[in-house]
């Protein structure tokens, strides 16, 4: 059996609202694909991803493994990030829907837990051990 890796641009993901983005990720990962994404999700979105993963866990899909590397924001970048997060929260509280949000600069790997055996994370790198 072969292991499939898909590399996804941030543009592909940013065109979707959060719920569609989570659905896009999980439908690929549940099919056995390891996704490498250009960008890092907001922590609240990542928590939503965990929640949605739990709803989809079954005998053939025990869940996911995730690792991300985020470029640290400093100065004006950090302020802009906070403002963007507040704006998203405000839109959600008014409309009840997750708005389209930009991903933070970085890299994320999400794959099926049944194939990813171990992720060793360091502050500035991670290594993945996968197998079938």
């Amino acid at each position: 059996m072969k292991l499939k890796l898909d590399f996804v641009s941030s543009t592909t993901l940013e065109d979707k609202p959060r719920d569609k983005r989570i659905n896009f990720i999980l439908s690929h990962v549940k099919d056995g694909t390891i996704l490498v994404m250009d960008g890092v999700m907001h922590p609240e979105e990542e928590m939503e991803l965990i929640k949605e993963t739990m709803r989809r866990v079954d005998e053939g899909f025990p869940g996911i493994e995730v690792a991300s590397l985020k470029k640290p924001s400093k100065g004006f970048g950090a302020i802009a990030e906070k403002l963007s997060d507040s704006k998203s929260g405000f839109i959600k509280s008014i409309t009840g829907k997750m708005p389209k949000t930009t991903l933070k600069t970085g890299l994320t790997l999400i794959g099926p837990a049944k194939y990813i055996k171990k992720i060793k994370k360091n502050p500035e790198s991670f290594s993945v051990l996968a197998g079938i």
């Binding site: 907001h42 922590p43 609240e44 990542e46 928590m47 965990i50 929640k51 993963t53 739990m54 709803r55 866990v57 005998e59 025990p62 869940g63 996911i64 493994e65 995730v66 690792a67 991300s68 997060d85 837990a113 049944k114 992720i119 060793k120 994370k121 360091n122 502050p123």
Partner: protein, 210 residues
Amino acid sequence: MALNSFFNWFTGLFGKKKKIRLGIYGSPNVGKTTLANRISKDWTGEEMGKVSEIPHETRTVQKKEKIEISLSRKKIVLNLLDMPGISTKIDYRSFLKFGMSKREARQRAKEATEGVIEAIKWLNNVDTVLAVMDASEDPLTQVNITLLGNLEARNIPVILVANKIDKKNASPKSIKEAFPQYPFVEISALTGKNMKELYEAIASYSRKGK
């Protein structure tokens, strides 16, 4: 954090005494229920939940209300919430090695997934969080990073608790180094070591309930 402590002290002087909804969060098997039992037993004489070496023993939120903690200079009242462990994966097969039948293991896995969802939902209803980590394990897991990121985004005060320092290979320093920006206490919930320091930290850094 100093400003936060001052604010808590000031409102404590003039405000009505309010309860702190204190959530105990972390990955499975880091000792959350042992800690909840220790806190509850120290101040009420009763334990809260069953502890087990099998992961996901706590699958629904366990609550203990009105725990009054008296410290040398102040009193705090807690509603203690012992959360199911947060995990990105739950495989029923992992329970089989503990002697469960397939049916029991599947049921436990199902309840465990529901527990994770419940614990995440409760993030909207806690005033302060004890983020518990096993001091003998690598703290740089995505669950820890995501949990701390969420608490920060929601402005929920968090105290890092390096648990299981009684273990020979414990390295609480690695937790402190991985997340240096948070208040930190190293404890053994099992033996009770440094619990006084933890209570002082809860009193200093907690946000009062609404």
